[in-house]
Amino acid sequence: MPSVTINSSDLEKEGPILEVQFLISSDLEKKYIEEKKAIPEPITVKSLIDTGASACVIKKEIPEALGLKPTGVTKINTPSSKDHECYHYFMRMLIPSHGLIYEGPFISAPLEGQEISSLIGRDVLKNGILIYIGYMNQFTFSLF
């Protein structure tokens, strides 16, 4: 079971942040290869593991840069809004150095701040393990 352990300088302030890559899905990649189309380069961004998020979120610039079209629409609730409509995109997220791969839907929405481009939500965590060791400024994330 692949896992990654991160030592943060200030885990309390920053939260569990990982550097991840976003790519087109493996099925779309196969189709592009068959059709001899260029495959978009992976996009590397910072992602926050957010146990308060029921689903994954990405900034809309990421699927745009990968040239992706949406595979559905969903409503989201936040502390200050209800039934906000957003598209979702089927994408591949990976941490290549540690062999972690997840493929699934990501909701496209504007995120606060410059640092974070993605939220890893409980739809990913349901397939994994998150160990948060606050006093050591360390966390470990594993995916089946």
Partner: protein
């Protein structure tokens, strides 16, 4: 308000919702325009067929539920002052 590109697909879903609920509650339906392509056990299976048939074009994958469940976020990291739909 921004136009949802899936208006036609959502209309198709609503027209067929009772039948889909009766036969395939909880499963995932793949819809393109006015056509229901098929019903699948998982979201991933529906997307796989969607990509195979339509490539990188918009198609709707939707879970068949009596009442749609919104996704919930407890933090304010998502900006709601900007519309999600482009």
């Amino acid at each position: 308000m921004t136009k949802n590109i899936f208006l036609k697909e959502l209309e198709t879903y609503e027209k067929n919702k009772q039948r889909l609920l009766k036969d395939s509650r909880g499963k995932f339906v793949l819809i393109k325009g006015e056509e229901i392509i098929n019903v699948f056990d998982t979201y991933s299976d529906a997307v796989k067929v969607g990509i195979d048939k339509f490539g990188n074009t918009p198609f709707l994958v939707k879970q068949i539920l009596e009442v749609d469940q919104p996704q919930n976020f407890t933090s304010n990291l998502i900006r709601v002052d900007i519309p999600c739909l482009p």
